[in-house]
Amino acid sequence: MLGGEDKMDSKYYETWEEYLAQHPELEGKPTQAIAPKIERYEDLMFTFIMDLLL
């Protein structure tokens, strides 16, 4: 996880915890494998988007 996401406050960015809360179907699944992947692509998208403005 990068810094700053706790204060993102955006409907286009979810931390893993926020994501999980929205997706009860993941309960009981191997979240230790799922979490880093979901987070990784959330962050890749963030970096891509921000690079469009730098």
């Binding site: 810094g3 700053g4 706790d6 955006s10 286009y12 890749l44 988007i49 469009l52 403005l53 730098l54």
Partner: protein
């Protein structure tokens, strides 16, 4: 261990020393010329090479072979494909194939409140559709454009990454990671309000400018974070607007969130490299307050004064005027390198870089020869 691996290790150690305030074995060097220069140096077509990246491997090979540098000379570059697919207006290819950034306004003055309420929402919903034509329109069209752009960008980056890995393996460069971010005020200025727009905002609605900088700070921190803060590398932050502001506007609007950004990154254990563009001499006391070992690459100013004021706490770089390479004789160019080495190298904390990047090459001019002479000179005479 092969010689090349040993060389990489040695160079990595130089930068580790440099970044932690220890005197390295010698003054580390980064070639100021960029990919555009390299393509022209290889005699190839700028536009074609940036679209067909397979052309770039021999370009980099020749470039790395002929110019001494401790770091891979293919820093942050813009590749045209995803900009094209997104219908970019802020970054476009010029007729000569040069990726350039015309002045744009992504955020209107009356949208400050919306931005302050949620910067990232505002970026996605308002700013990007305004600046990137393919992100404006039917959701389906936007989704397709974004997917294609994201994919081509990741393919392009991966390809450039393999070239970089090959060059590192062949030439033994230091292996450093980098993240790019901006001071909140500069971010508000560059693609959002424009240089002109922000200059008016500072006088018309300073409170909103200040609130917007605060609001966007967490995004700037996040953008500037390396995948792993303890890895060898740095957050690169080019600084734009401060020299154009009055002292009191700088103190009230630029400095507070900029300082927080640097401090937050430093607390995470990251090295930060500031590209201190234009002339910051009147702000040296402010710069002094920044965390120890912050790297500051200067464009203009008085190297002696900077060494004196910041040289014991921070890492100084830059100052070498690349225009001299265009207009000077070889001897003048080398003399200038010597002059800066004499001032800035004693006691360590000096990284040889130029005052700006060399973004083009006039084939008939003296730049190639002068640049090579300077790099060689610093390499040979920069040992401690």
């Amino acid at each position: 261990m092969t010689d090349v691996v040993a060389l990489t290790n040695e160079r990595n150690q130089m930068f580790r020393d440099l970044f932690s305030g220890k005197t390295p074995k010698r003054v580390p060097i980064s070639n100021p010329a960029t990919q555009d220069f390299a393509i022209q140096y290889a005699g190839l077509d700028l536009a074609e090479c940036q679209w067909d990246l397979t052309k770039l491997e021999p370009v980099y090979d020749k470039f790395c072979q002929d110019f001494i540098t401790d770091t891979y000379p293919g820093g942050s570059i813009r590749i045209p494909s995803h900009y094209q697919l997104l219908g970019s207006t802020p970054i476009i290819m010029s007729s000569s194939g040069f990726m350039q950034h015309p002045e744009v306004v992504g955020l209107l003055a009356e949208e400050y409140d919306q931005f302050i309420a949620s910067p990232y929402d505002c970026i996605i919903e308002t700013i990007l559709p305004r600046l990137y034509t393919e992100l404006n329109g039917e959701p389906g069209k936007v989704a397709m454009a974004l997917a294609k752009a994201m994919r081509v960008h990741s393919d392009d980056m991966a390809y450039l990454g393999t070239i970089r890995a090959k060059m590192n393996a062949k030439y033994g460069f230091a292996t450093m990671g980098a993240a790019l971010t901006e001071a909140p005020f500069d971010f508000m200025a560059d693609f959002l309000r424009s240089f002109k727009g922000i200059s008016g905002d500072v006088r018309r609605y300073p409170d909103k400018v200040s609130a917007a900088c605060e609001a966007v700070l967490p995004l700037m921190v996040k953008k500037g974070t390396l995948p792993n803060p303890s890895m060898l590398g740095y957050t690169f932050i080019p600084l734009h607007m401060a020299p154009y502001l009055r002292d009191k506007d700088f103190a009230a609007l630029y400095w507070p969130t900029f300082k927080k950004l640097i401090e937050t990154l430093a607390e995470m254990g990251q090295t930060v490299q500031l590209f201190v563009e234009n002339d910051w001499m009147r702000y040296l006391d402010y710069l002094y307050e920044l965390p120890e070992n912050t790297i500051m690459r200067f464009e203009y100013g008085d190297p002696k004064l900077v060494k004196e004021k910041l040289g014991k706490k921070h890492i100084v770089s830059g100052f070498y005027p690349i225009t001299l390479l265009q207009t000077g004789t070889k001897q003048q160019c080398v003399d200038k390198a010597k002059e800066l080495l004499d001032i800035l190298a004693p006691g360590g904390r000096y990284w040889w870089q130029a005052d700006k990047s060399i973004i083009n090459l006039e084939a008939s001019g003296p730049v190639v020869e002068n640049l090579r002479a300077v790099l060689e000179y610093v390499h040979e005479n920069g040992t401690y």
